[in-house]
């Protein structure tokens, strides 16, 4: 079994720690059991079942640290991975940024709410059944489906030589499907992610993908340029994920981030975005549970990063906080963007001229300073006129910064749980209507 209970994890880590001769030692376990099924051309292609458990040891002498990991758990291997970390530590130069380990009693820790037994109990048969429903929708709509369903149960635990022990467990299921017509002239997509399998409806999700596929046939080319866009949550999420990573004080203070203030320092307190924008982390949000502690041993609580467009907080590691004489601010384990009450349909209804973007693809950083990103639309792009979807349009490449985009917010809809199509992480993000979104070229891709 790769998933250890809290008691078993503590017992194993205690045994490993007993081998330590270092000044400080932190031992950690990560375990994962997952099952997946992949299908294409309306039939299953590959599927698998995987189980992994790994032990990491970080040993420190003075300010010299070595790390080693192993996935064998007999007594001899446990002792030897500790020795290996210690040997590497002795060979490593001093790291002046090394911070002492935190002991217990500094903070109160609460258990996470991310574990759902129904998800943990999924089998190859239940996955195949869920996929069979999706394939049926595609076949009925005369489309070809390619998709992926994966459920994961994971845990992590750390114990350090100061006596701090932390444990977390979580379940996750993600589903995504692309439906295409035989001619290759129409394509649609849907993606879902939950902690609880009972919330996943592969039939409904595939139905949405199918209607986008059939609706995107005979796409017209329009001239690239600046347009008002409505980004569906799955498109907005992918764009914002690239920005969330930059909520970090150090890179900002060092002058090499979009959070750097011209002339030095960071943008804390600055009105950087439209006042409709509020972004925060909260591991106890029932829609998006997250881990409740970080690797440095700090509890994670609700933390607001952007408040009505103002940069409210940036994350500070223990080292950087000490250097800047502020309190450490751990980075969040999830990201939530507030929105309004409008549905996607209502956002479309309120748009005179614009483009509905179902999904974005292959987003990469062009300029870290302005967070300029490039990527393309994919799987259903539609022209909106007088509050109605008029016709499908050909995909386009964009060059746009999410920071500039969040200055151009016209309206936000109701947030919903959505996954990043690249990292497969879940977020809570609203559909958003953005003016002056910059498209730079046409693509022939369907």
């Amino acid at each position: 079994m790769a998933i250890l209970s809290k008691a078993d994890a503590r017992a194993l880590l205690t045994k490993v720690l007993a081998y330590s001769k270092a000044d400080e030692c932190e031992v950690s376990l990560g375990g994962q059991e997952s099952g997946n099924i992949r299908y294409a051309r309306n039939a299953v292609s590959t599927a698998g079942d995987s189980s992994t458990l790994s032990l990491s040891v970080s040993s420190t002498f003075g300010k010299k640290t070595g790390n080693a990991s192993i996935n064998e758990f007999d007594d001899a291997s446990l002792e030897k991975v500790v020795r290996r970390a210690e040997e590497l530590a002795q060979l490593a130069p001093e790291n002046p940024e090394r911070m002492p380990l935190l002991g217990p009693g500094n903070f109160e820790f609460k258990d996470s709410i991310g574990y759902v037994p129904a998800t943990a109990n999924m089998t190859a048969d239940t996955r195949a059944e869920a996929v069979a429903k999706s394939i049926k929708v595609a076949k009925d709509a005369k489309l070809e489906a390619a998709g992926f369903l994966e459920n994961t149960t994971s845990f992590s635990a750390i114990l350090n030589s100061k006596g701090l022990f932390l444990y977390d467990t979580n379940t996750d299921v993600t589903f995504s499907v692309t439906t295409r017509n035989q001619e290759g002239t129409g394509s649609g997509y849907a993606a879902r992610g939950f902690n609880d399998i009972r919330k996943l409806d592969t039939f409904a999700a595939t139905s949405i993908a199918a209607s986008k596929a059939n609706g995107s046939v005979n796409a017209r080319a329009i001239e690239p340029g600046k347009y008002t866009v409505i980004l569906e949550p799955v498109a907005a999420t992918y764009m914002l994920e690239n920005m969330f990573r930059g909520f970090d004080a150090r890179s900002a203070d060092e002058g090499r981030s979009f959070m750097s203030k011209p002339g030095g320092g960071n943008r804390l307190g600055e009105q950087l975005m439209d006042e409709k924008v509020t972004i925060y982390s909260d591991p106890y949000n029932p829609e998006l549970p997250g881990n409740t502690w970080n690797r440095e041993g700090f509890p994670l609580e609700r933390m607001t990063w952007i408040d009505k467009g103002v940069v409210k907080n940036l994350s500070y590691s223990q080292f950087w906080a000490q250097k800047k004489n502020v309190k450490p601010v751990p980075f969040g384990s999830n990201m939530i963007m507030e929105g309004g009450n409008q549905s996607l349909e209502e956002l479309i209804k309120g748009t005179e001229k614009g483009i509905l973007v179902s999904r974005l693809w292959y987003i990469r950083m062009v300029d870290a300073q302005t967070l300029l990103l490039t990527g393309l639309t994919r799987d259903g792009t539609f022209y909106i006129e007088n509050g109605q979807i008029k016709f499908p349009i050909k995909n386009m490449r964009f060059n746009e910064s999410p920071v500039i985009m969040l200055n151009n917010v016209e309206a936000l809809g109701k947030p919903e749980r959505s996954i990043s199509v690249e990292s497969y992480r879940s977020y809570l993000v609203p559909p958003m209507k953005i003016r002056d979104f910059t498209f730079t070229s046409l693509s022939d891709a369907v």
Binding site: A2, I70, L88, T178, W361
Partner: protein, 543 residues
């Protein structure tokens, strides 16, 4: 253990250390020996047979098993300090079966005989569950059993036997050069990988492979006038030992900036990078428009990767990647015409799993097929795709092309690109001669930002350094450059390719595909090439 002992132990060659006593139930290993020593082949063969027998007993008509020990070591630094020294080791088994005509896969790090048998049974259970929703049974191209064979990356110095101190010293010396040169920040690292893979199948193959890869990397950053610029190292990840970091005069390619062939001078490149990043701060912002692009191999490898190597993957062509990486603008119909003009007449592209020093070079792929080399684009025309055993029949092939790969024992193997390389020009042509013919152009060195659509039509690439070419001469540095093009138009605009003297490999450890996502390590070779009339945009913005 004292440092001296560590060095002594590390310096000993393979076989100089007595094999540890492996228990099948636990495999206790000495941590430092483990960095060099693999598990005894006889032990692996015994374990593999357990898997194959258990799978067959449960009804599998085919089974293969991969027992893998994956080692990696990362030494990472910034400015004058070491950020991390870490060794990771992962050992486990991945078992793939065909039962009731369907694939099934299971993996585990439980390496007891009982655990391996249970994992094999699980793979059969998965196959049987999926057999209900297959459209046709798996058709495997024949592969005769190879018996007991082995292959090893032809390295001179095992990177795992080089003391950590040597790596730290090299990186900190390089960082000091950057800081002395006026850089504000520098990050550098050396990553070494060793895949010890044992493959066995019901065809009767037992293949033991020892694969080595190395990746030295740095980024130097300079801040000025409230802006920052960066320049990455021009070294490549390689399928070599630590000898890659021993520079030789012959391996250097002179020019506006020194580039490197099969050896890399990290210290020299750091010095050059620091000078260039300073120039970048005050370089002229590019005027958007059409330019003739002269692309160095340190840049062009990534364009080849995205616009040639990916669209010629047969699984993408057929739709198996539709839900993630995407499909391809290349189709079976285009292949069958034997007339599809992918590029200009001088464009010849080969797939090659054998090329020495490349990341993709192995003796056998992850389904036991001996590796080979074949044409993808010949005289500008599309002539072939990349296929594995269960796809070979679709191309009318009698055997697999040997490009099946799994990133670890924990992942299922599937079609991954081999090294895909543009062949050097057949006529003698130097880079200087190529530039002489350019009226209005940009010379691009190093890879930067990259993005391409899901059918590989429309792409955009940045770079590390950009030089304006005016009337046949380099006219100074540019910045904020990215080019956008359509793949077929771009490759048909290829008007010149330098000869083999300029041929070099670039590559990456992180070629991504599949669900769950897997990384593949792959190299792409080319000589400097010219593309006429490509659309260049300006990427500068203000926030």
């Amino acid at each position: 253990m004292k440092r001296k002992d560590f060095l002594q132990l590390s310096a000993m060659g393979l076989g100089a250390i007595a094999l540890p006593d492996f228990s099948l139930l636990g495999n206790p290993i000495d941590p430092l020996q483990a960095l060099q020593e693999g598990v005894d082949v006889a032990v692996k063969k015994e374990l593999a047979d357990v898997a194959l027998s258990a799978a067959k007993a449960k009804g599998a008509t085919y089974a293969d098993v991969r027992i893998g020990r994956y080692l990696n070591q990362v030494v990472s630094t910034r400015e004058n300090r070491v950020q991390g020294v870490a060794n990771a080791e992962s050992y486990g088994v991945g078992i793939r079966v065909i039962a009731n005509g369907s694939w099934g896969f299971a993996s585990s790090n439980n390496m007891t005989k009982e655990g391996i048998a249970r994992t094999a049974e699980k793979a059969v259970e998965v196959a049987k569950a999926n057999a209900k929703i297959i459209s046709e049974p798996v058709k495997l191209a024949p592969q005769k059993g190879l018996g007991d064979v082995s292959w090893k990356t032809p390295i001179i110095t095992n990177a795992f036997s080089v003391p950590v101190k040597d790596k730290v010293d090299l990186l900190l010396t390089a960082n000091a050069i950057a800081m002395k040169g006026g850089a504000n920040f520098v990050n550098s690292s050396i990553l070494a990988i060793n895949e010890q893979k044992f493959f066995a199948s019901t065809d009767g193959s037992y293949i033991d492979q020892d694969i080595h890869r190395l990746f030295p990397n740095f980024t130097v950053t300079k801040i000025g006038n409230g802006k920052f610029e960066t320049r990455k190292g021009l070294g490549s990840p390689v399928g070599m030992g630590y000898e890659y970091l021993t520079p030789t005069a012959e391996s250097k390619v002179g020019g506006i900036v020194t580039r490197y062939k099969d050896r890399y001078d990290l210290l020299e490149d750091m010095k050059n990078a620091t000078e260039e990043v300073t120039q970048k701060l005050t370089a002229k912002s590019v005027e958007p428009g059409k330019y003739d692009l002269v692309l160095d191999p340190s840049h062009l490898w990534l364009t080849i990767h995205e616009s040639v190597a990916h669209p010629t993957e047969l699984d993408r062509v057929l739709g198996y990647e539709a839900n993630y990486a995407g499909t391809s603008f290349l189709t079976m119909e285009k292949l069958k015409t034997k007339k599809f003009k992918f590029g200009s007449d001088i464009v010849n592209v080969v797939a090659d799993k054998l090329q020495p020093g490349s990341l993709g070079a192995v003796g056998y792929d992850d389904e036991g097929v001996p590796c080979k080399k074949w044409d993808l684009i010949k005289d500008g025309v599309l002539v072939n795709f990349q296929a594995i055993r269960d796809q070979a029949h679709i191309l009318g092939l009698k055997e697999s092309q040997g490009c099946c790969y799994a990133q670890t024992w924990n992942d299922v193997q599937f079609q991954r690109m081999p090294n895909v390389s543009l062949q050097p020009g057949k006529k003698q042509l130097s880079v200087d001669d190529m530039i002489k013919d350019v009226e209005k152009g940009i010379y691009i060195i190093g890879d930067g930002s990259f993005s391409i659509d899901q059918q590989r039509y429309n792409f955009q690439f940045g770079g590390q350094t950009f030089y304006e070419i005016r009337n046949g001469k380099i006219a100074g540095m540019l910045k904020d450059v990215a080019y956008q093009a359509n793949t077929q138009e771009f490759w048909n605009s290829c008007t010149a390719i330098a000869d083999e003297r300029d041929y070099r490999l670039g590559g990456a450890f992180n070629d991504g595909k599949g669900q769950p996502g897997q990384s593949n390590a792959v190299s792409h070779g080319s000589s400097t090439s010219r593309f006429n009339g490509v659309n260049v945009i300006n990427t500068a913005r203000k926030i």
